[in-house]
């Protein structure tokens, strides 16, 4: 890490610690910002680095949320009775029960999501290009429908989550720090990952999967592991989000394919896919602009969102990072090999 980069990281960390203390009213929004960053980062593992554009990554978010909820409740109560009563039975979780349940729930959510990703990858990674995008979209929609029809977890009625044992102010700070920790862990893990052979293999799959396979890469294994990594982090953050909102149900909270599910794609594209910082920048910009303007758009928010996606995809595909890399290649350590470029253009068919 260069000196500038260390300063930048420390500055972001400091901002992340100071911001919720300075603006206690906005802690939930700041936590959402970290979640959005994690969304974009995990989407980019497949979408940017590996060239597999998933429209259904939200599946793991919702799945993690439900696994976490079931664990938290199921450790001490009968889940079916709990959900059937819609909060009518008086349930009390002691402090210890709550924290143990939450910790175990998050771990289980992450592991279960990674396993589900591995299983699904067996089915879905046979599909390439747009078929993969449509297939994952279908999987996410199906998951929402099936959860909605599953009475054990409350069906469409949802589950109200165990109540945090403590002050509301402490509660939001507690979840804020967990979200922040998850995002930062995800960032550093991916940063390390992209520097390894594994990262190179992902890029090779993106550039030409058949050739990568011909070179001896077990592309299916790489794809499976990459998706499991995404799913692992999404599972954690799903569990956290469920506890933050306090109430979960399949359509709007757990599997919001048309909001969070499409936000991840939009944010990554806005920031520039295939780069480490692109998703972070895109998510921050998107979330801040969204939070500031959302309430003034009076119902036209989602129209604006759709327009943003269209304009982004059609006119500004390289994203902010891509644009900066084109503008100042030297800053990013990219060397423009003009002779090589000319030669390759002449050799091209």
């Amino acid at each position: 890490m260069s000196r500038n980069s260390i300063i930048l990281h420390c500055a972001i960390l400091a901002a992340g610690i100071v911001a919720p203390l300075l603006f206690p009213g906005l802690v939930f929004q700041f936590a959402m910002l970290w979640i959005m960053i994690l969304f974009a980062l995990t989407w980019d593992v497949l979408g940017g680095q590996m060239g597999y554009n998933s429209l259904g990554n939200i599946l793991f978010f919702g799945f993690g949320m439900y696994i976490c909820a079931i664990t938290q409740i199921g450790m001490f109560y009968n889940v079916a009775e709990y959900t059937a009563a819609f909060g009518a039975i008086k349930v009390d979780f002691t402090d210890q029960q709550y924290y143990v349940g939450l910790a175990l729930g998050l771990v289980l959510a992450a592991v279960a999501c990674a396993l589900v990703a591995a299983l699904l990858s067996w089915v879905l990674f046979g599909l390439r290009g747009p078929y993969f995008a449509i297939g994952t979209l279908g999987a996410a929609l199906a998951a929402a429908e099936l959860t909605g029809a599953w009475n054990y977890v409350g069906g469409g009625g949802g589950i109200s989550m165990p109540v945090f044992p403590g002050e509301p102010g402490v509660r939001s700070l507690f979840f804020y720090s967990l979200c922040m920790a998850a995002s930062i862990a995800c960032y550093f893990f991916l940063r390390w990952l992209y520097g390894t052979r594994f990262g190179l293999a992902l890029n090779a799959i993106r550039d030409d999967e058949d050739k990568a396979e011909a070179m001896g890469l077990h592309t299916n294994r790489y794809k499976m592991v990459a998706w499991s990594i995404s799913a692992f982090f999404l599972g954690i953050v799903g569990g956290l989000f469920g506890n933050m909102t306090g109430f979960i149900e399949p359509m709007e909270v757990a599997y919001p394919t048309l909001t969070f599910g499409i936000f991840m794609v939009a944010m990554t594209l806005l920031g520039g896919k295939g780069t480490l910082w692109g998703p972070v920048i895109g998510a921050t910009l998107f979330h801040v602009v969204k939070e500031v303007t959302w309430t003034y758009l009076l119902g036209w928010q989602y129209v604006a969102l759709g327009l943003l996606i269209i304009v982004n995809v059609v006119y500004f595909q390289q994203g902010i990072m891509g644009w900066m890399q084109e503008r100042w290649p030297q800053r990013f350590g990219l060397v423009v090999d003009s002779e090589g470029a000319v030669a390759s253009r002449e050799n091209a068919p």
Partner: protein, 300 residues
């Protein structure tokens, strides 16, 4: 679930009802799927806003019928308006993503789908609507099976439109140009086909077909701003399972899908109807994957 299956076995006449409903509705799915396959084959753009085009057409018909026009006569003005709408969308969005990688066009049309469904939600309201066509309901088998006349009419109209489209593709100059472009765009350009015009025409034609399908849906079923995605998924199921350029396949799959949906709605319960469609999509995709695998083995 078992109870429902037992009902079907005990009273075979219910099967007739389900099959009939399924086939009559499936014909409209077939129209949307045909439009999707057309655009897919010619421009290689997979239009995720297909179902929203259908819904938009339906709402246009609904608005016209509020002003006293009978919905069946609304078919022609709606098709014309949708043609122009499709042309505008093509010029603004689709023409710019046609040459790019496939995900770009997919995402652009997905963005379009969001814009359309949300705008419809704001313009027409989130209520579930239907257009009263004023036709009678027929009773067969001593009243055990009921069929509305409008469903029969819409089935016939779908058939006529399909026939007209096939003839158009085979005989007319533009149809031939479209087929040539679908086979090999570059060769078609060399032969003097204005492929840009062909693309624009194909996309607009698709929008018009969707408009017709939407008006029919508004009479035989319901309209809702967010139901569009279900029609997109259905169209994808049909086209993926049937394959491109396979019109008989599209027809069989569309009618079959209609019937399967009715059955699953009856056997599993109405809340599973949507899940069935999505499940079928996954099955169709996996089926394709297995086919591809066989090809690869043959290569090895």
């Amino acid at each position: 679930m078992w109870d429902n299956i037992q009902i079907l076995v005990a009273a075979p006449v219910f099967n007739v009802q389900l099959l009939l409903n399924g086939l009559l509705i499936g014909a409209v799915f077939g129209l949307a799927a045909y439009g999707l396959a057309l655009v897919w084959g010619v421009t290689n753009v997979k239009n995720l806003a297909q179902g929203d085009f259908v819904m938009f057409g339906g709402y246009l018909g609904y608005e016209l019928s509020k002003h006293g026009l009978h919905p069946i006569f609304a078919l022609i003005p709606v098709a014309a308006v949708m043609y122009v709408f499709g042309w505008i969308v093509y010029k603004l969005v689709v023409s710019r993503v046609i040459q790019r990688e496939l995900f770009t066009s997919l995402l652009a049309t997905f963005g379009l789908a969001i814009v359309m469904q949300q705008s419809m939600n704001l313009l027409f309201g989130p209520e579930v609507r239907t257009v009263e066509s004023g036709f009678k309901t027929r009773e067969l088998f001593d009243g055990l099976v009921t069929v509305t006349d409008i469903r029969m009419i819409s089935f016939v109209l779908c058939g006529l439109l399909a026939l007209a489209l096939v003839l158009f593709m085979k005989k007319s100059r533009m149809g031939q140009a479209i087929r040539a472009t679908a086979q090999d765009a570059r060769a078609a350009r060399v032969m003097g086909v204005d492929t840009e015009r062909v693309y624009a025409f194909t996309f607009s034609l698709n929008a018009a077909i969707c408009g017709v399908a939407g008006v029919l849906i508004s009479m035989i079923w319901v309209l809702q701003p967010f139901y569009g995605i279900a029609y997109s998924v259905r169209a994808f199921v049909i086209v993926t399972a049937a394959g491109l350029g396979n019109l008989p396949g599209v027809i069989v799959m569309a009618l079959g899908l209609g019937a399967i949906e009715q059955y699953s709605g009856f056997v599993l319960g109405a809340q599973f109807q949507q899940a069935t469609v999505v499940g079928l999509l996954l099955i169709a995709l996996i089926w394709r994957r297995l086919l591809l695998q066989r090809h690869r083995q043959a290569l090895q």
